[in-house]
């Protein structure tokens, strides 16, 4: 994001979004998380 010149990057909370799905083991291997993020064009 900072590469594309956005500022004020804000991360929201993380969710273990693959928990209980068939992707769970692949997701665990790479510690995959659902995240939210926001930024502003300065």
């Amino acid at each position: 994001m900072s590469h594309a010149n956005f500022t004020g990057l804000r991360w929201g909370k993380q969710v273990d979004v693959f928990s209980g799905s068939k992707h769970e083991s692949d997701a665990k291997e790479f510690d995959t998380r659902g995240v939210t993020l926001a930024a502003t064009k300065g």
Binding site: M1, H3, A4, N5, F6, R10, W11, G12, K13, V15, V17, F18, G20, S21, K22, H23, D26, E29, F30, D31, T32, R33, G34, V35, T36, L37, A38, A39, T40, K41, G42
Partner: protein, 204 residues
């Protein structure tokens, strides 16, 4: 946390074909079950208010396949111009269209026609006339420079091999002072090159 722009050898056209086939199924056969969660249980997991979900058509809810709730970072304002990258069946698009109201508008972009049909159907069902559903790619956003107040996206950018191009496009179309609110997935452990080049891991 750091966002890494990965270099991968995956063939872009082949990846697009696989993604389109997968999400055509999510649109047309949502009941079949996928490697990721979908629909109402996913919306609850991601903390979408039940009342907001219940206000959407069932055909929209059943094909929801996001990875977070971009509206937890802030609601949209009346009159805003929004672009939803990879809108899918319109789960966030329809909510965004309600939030910005008749003086605002939402461009809903997706590369999978079956998903766009569901977005159009959802808009029609709810009587929302401020949505423009467009077929296209995240790497070439269909909006003029500096014309959009807010870009939203949910579970899409992780599917694009050229994330830098997507981010540059997002930057191009946002107005100065405008914002980008997305939900996506990140990996927190190093991914080896074989995994980065494994097209099946990309398309899920």
């Amino acid at each position: 946390m750091v966002l890494e722009v990965v270099a991968s050898k995956v063939d872009r056209e082949q990846l697009r074909d696989q993604i389109e086939a997968k999400y055509c199924d999510v649109a047309k056969k949502p009941e079949q079950g996928f490697h990721f969660h979908t629909g109402r249980p996913l919306a609850a997991m991601l903390e979408y208010p039940e009342a907001d979900v219940n206000a959407l058509p069932e055909s929209t809810i059943e094909s929801f396949a996001g990875t977070g709730n971009p509206f937890l970072l802030g609601k949209l304002h009346e009159g805003e111009a929004v672009l939803d990258i990879g809108c899918g069946a319109g789960f966030d698009t329809l909510q965004a269209a309600k939030q910005v109201g008749p003086t605002g508008h939402v461009i809903a972009l997706d590369m999978t026609e079956a998903m766009l049909e569901k977005t159009r159907l959802g808009a029609e069902t709810l009587g929302l006339t401020n949505i423009d559903a467009k077929l296209g790619y995240a790497e070439e956003l269909p909006a003029d420079d500096g014309s959009i107040d807010v870009v939203i996206s949910n579970g899409v950018i992780n599917l694009t091999p050229d994330k830098m191009t997507v981010m540059q496009e997002v930057y191009r179309i946002i107005k100065p002072g405008g914002r980008f609110q997305i939900a996506d997935i990140v990996v927190q452990k190093p991914v080896d090159q074989d995994a980065k080049d494994d097209i099946d891991l990309w398309s899920g």
